[in-house]
Symmetry: C4
Subunit: 323 residues, 4 copies
């Protein structure tokens, strides 16, 4: 057991050590914490702006359409309540439905400031409402401009990770490996990687979560052109040295991955997090190459669909855990 | 007394050491300095943009509404002064009030560029004013778009601190503790904390403000998922070691807190400052846990309303000050 | 040969060591990697926003004009399909071509929200389409505003490099030199340079790419006011020490340049990359001065057209490679 | 003389050492380099965006007004050339001047997209031009929105420096002092200062510019609340130790100041540069306090108009230079 404590667990992960308090995995595959907050109202807990920024594009478009329609419905209702006789140009011999529709379209012409003018406000109240609506339209548009720019310009790393982490032969032993590549036409420089392993261990009869840093063979690269395989050598210094395959799974190992880089698209620091659990572990496999020389020989081709391509291999066990 | 000077006071805090010059607390709870500036005109001293950025949302909306109304009133006045007969489509058999209102609504239609056209400028002067007003509208709108985006995208840490700082049992002595948590759905990484204590002490009959750094047991965490309790161990190296409860209060201790982190919402460095005075100190208390496993066991729940939850405990005094 | 391995090759460049996999040069003169990606759909691989950001100005203007025309054509088609009798104010005694044109111009008046109103929508369908088009216009404009601001505010280093790298006399030996200058009215501070050389060498009968850092005499300057000549001294520690001119060319040497600085225009970190291949090497040349005192003697003049000005000189060979 | 070379001059300043090449002062008081660039066309040398960003507010407003008027004049000319009979609603019985004015105001209504519609385009050509103009208006507005936001959000340090640098008594010798304070309601943290002195010295009959760093007693402060006096102690290690007042002036000393900080308004790194020449030096003076306790005793008042307040004092010369 003293062997097992050679690697000191760390308590600066921001997670708690108390295993029977925390539930499930710590970090979700998309990098968010598996965590809910409560005790204060939702509007204090949620940043609406960032929720709209991170929303899927289709949902965002839907939200704008919904807002546009709802605002028009509300203002159309007000114009109708005041009376459509205060909208010059509307044929009042028509039905109520036609009047409501006319109010709706007048509203949309005001909200977007297109203002054809074949329908125009005449009375005091209608003029006040129309004046308010055109201001609303301008402000809403300012918000939308901000949101669209925010969505575009939000710095992101655009990294794709292998679906699995593998334990592969490495040097004269074995290593834990995770592969990643940037999949967009951006370019990352000064890329740093940090791996932390969480183990749920039984200590003196109590379950506790222990965290250990996993040192990497190369923890920083100057430029991420091709793919990058993160390699943690499982040698005597490694916190994984003492565990065999079954123990890793029984202790519900979870590897937290944190990547930080400078992106030339955004000229900004970007980061991406993810996590691999014991279910993502393939014990005895190695990644296959994912780039090759182009047919004409003048450039290199990175094959992104092969990021998780691996073949099974046997591991030479040398650690005491396997004896 | 020599004991008391073991911790060297620091003079790189940006505050002056001269206690009878400075007044009241140094830093306000919201992190701003308790400081006024004068000697140059207010428009040089104030950044209007940032004032509008930091304004409460309701005040900001009010400011926009006020600006909109005031601008329309001014332009309506000009149109009226030139003569509403130069606005085609206005019924001139009406009263002066109606003419003013018509000028006002024409102004609002021009400022927002909705321009229905049932009222339109005809004379040279009126055309020039209308042309200027529509440009004004477009520029004002550009400013508002910038302000709204600026308000949205202003990087903030969204940290909530415990209302009190406590002196709690720690290791075989005691420690000064402050608790914080991020209360929004943002995620902070590489979080650093820095505590500085200010003491107003009597030195050779003169009051002086002395600053000491308070080393933390953990001063940097990789990720702020749950809450974080900042712990300063009051051991022999601590500048607080020599003071008992009464002295801390008499010397008007003030703890300056500075947090710096990288935020994934903004992909930017964020920071937050606050300060605790001796009035916020609870001597002999410890914070209660504020997170628990969710009912279904798959995630952790952080209870933000418990951030200041503590229970009173007795402190085992071992420092010479209490002998 | 042992001599030749004194400089340890590095494998944190983000490029692979496998020479018969990689093709052509590694980095293009504009700093992009000579690399293609495939295996995932193009819309996942390309960031449209950044493509539009990096596009030449003339192409960007063309793209906007194209989008404007295409959108108007589409909406004009819809209005025509519904029937131009639902656009009040259009003279229906005219030809089909005139009707289509009228629909096109009505569309453009709606898309830009100018909405004169001499042509206005009347039927239900036409009103719905017009309402949708004005929203489209507003959103498209929001996107364009974001793109234009993004293009303006994209932090760039605005550095110009000499077209050639030269091997010049330096101290009592020789040095590899590259010259650069900032060519805009921006100002760079804390400028760092990093040179890495790639050599395609034959190792045990197999071609491999080896990378070595090239230490610089001065690798960081406080402020880039004038030009800066990067100097790598080819002394005994240099990875180039063992190679003569022919070997450098045969091994297809490629020097990767990475500059990082803080820019006061953008108040942001900027970076620029480029690469020089053996074809850009001039063996035995030195750069000529490119700045002089202004005629009135009160300032310095930097002559940017002389950035590649050099004169041929003979090199005193002292390295064993030339023996 | 060997004494004089104890402080090693540095050559990583980005300025050249060649004194008869460089002219006048190196850095202007506003922090820009006293430098002109030529050899490439002005549109390559100038960033229009940043020029517009740094322009004085009044000049910027003027530039927008000019652009607005010029664009309207151009389009009015085109409409007039095509023939105002293609603008429905214009009274053609009027004079040419009136027709031109009508075309001008129609242009402005199109450019701002206000589009009243009492004047509207009818012919094909006029419609095409109007369609183009409204697009121009929208794009120009996008540019202006970007510029205004860029002007607002440009991170600046808002530091005010003392007009003079003084040599004041310090410890048992003397020190070079410069005072600065932030004059806006922003807050700077982690403020770093760097002083470099340039001396134009005669070396073996040739004038050369030598640069030396001037170490500061405190070079970094946590927070800039009050004023900050930069102090360089002129002790035996100082490059100024060997020079008396006359030599400092004869060698045309110039002190380059570089401040870097993190600003909470912008959540960004800000920087400011300035320079003091021998004409700004007051030999034998000390700065007077510039802050005091507020009348009600609850806060501190910083008096920005006293930033250069000093009183003359005598200096005790101990350096060999004065012997």
């Amino acid at each position: 057991m003293s062997q097992r404590h050679r690697s000191k667990n760390i308590d600066n992960t921001g997670f708690g050590p108390n295993s029977n308090v925390e539930g499930g995995r710590l970090v979700n595959p998309d990098g968010s914490n598996n965590l809910r907050k409560r005790g204060i109202p939702i509007w204090d807990r949620i940043s609406i702006y960032h929720t709209l920024l991170r929303m899927k594009r289709s949902h965002f478009m839907m939200a704008i359409l919904l807002f546009y329609t709802a605002t028009n419905v509300i203002f159309a209702g007000i114009y109708f309540a005041i009376g459509v006789e205060h909208l010059s140009g509307i044929d009042q011999s028509k039905s109520v439905v036609d009047e409501v529709l006319a109010a709706f379209f007048f509203s949309s012409q005001t909200l977007t400031t297109v203002g054809y003018g074949h329908v125009a406000p005449t009375g005091l109240l209608t003029n006040i409402v129309a004046s308010t609506e055109s201001l609303t339209g301008i402000l809403a548009f300012a918000v939308v401009t901000g949101l669209i720019y925010g969505r575009f310009s939000r710095p992101r790393a655009f990294l794709r990770f292998s679906s699995n982490m593998v334990i592969a032969p490495y040097k004269d032993g074995k290593g834990l490996m995770i592969r990643l590549a940037s999949y967009k036409n951006n370019h990352l420089t000064e890329v740093e990687a940090q791996l932390t392993i969480a183990m749920h261990v039984n200590e003196q009869g109590k379950m506790a979560t222990r965290f250990y840093p996993l040192p990497l063979e190369i923890a920083k690269i100057n430029s991420l052109a091709l793919s990058w395989t993160l390699v943690h050598h499982i040698n005597e210094e490694s916190p994984l040295y003492q565990f065999n395959k079954e123990e890793l799974i029984n202790n519900r190992m979870e590897v937290l991955v944190y990547i930080k880089a400078f992106d030339d698209h955004f000229s900004n620091t970007v980061q991406q997090r993810t996590s691999f659990t014991h279910r993502d572990l393939i014990y005895g496999a190695k990644f296959l190459p994912m780039f090759e020389r182009s047919v004409d020989g003048t450039s290199t081709v990175l094959e992104l669909d092969k990021i998780n391509a691996y073949e099974l291999v046997s591991i030479k066990e040398i650690s005491p855990a396997s004896i």
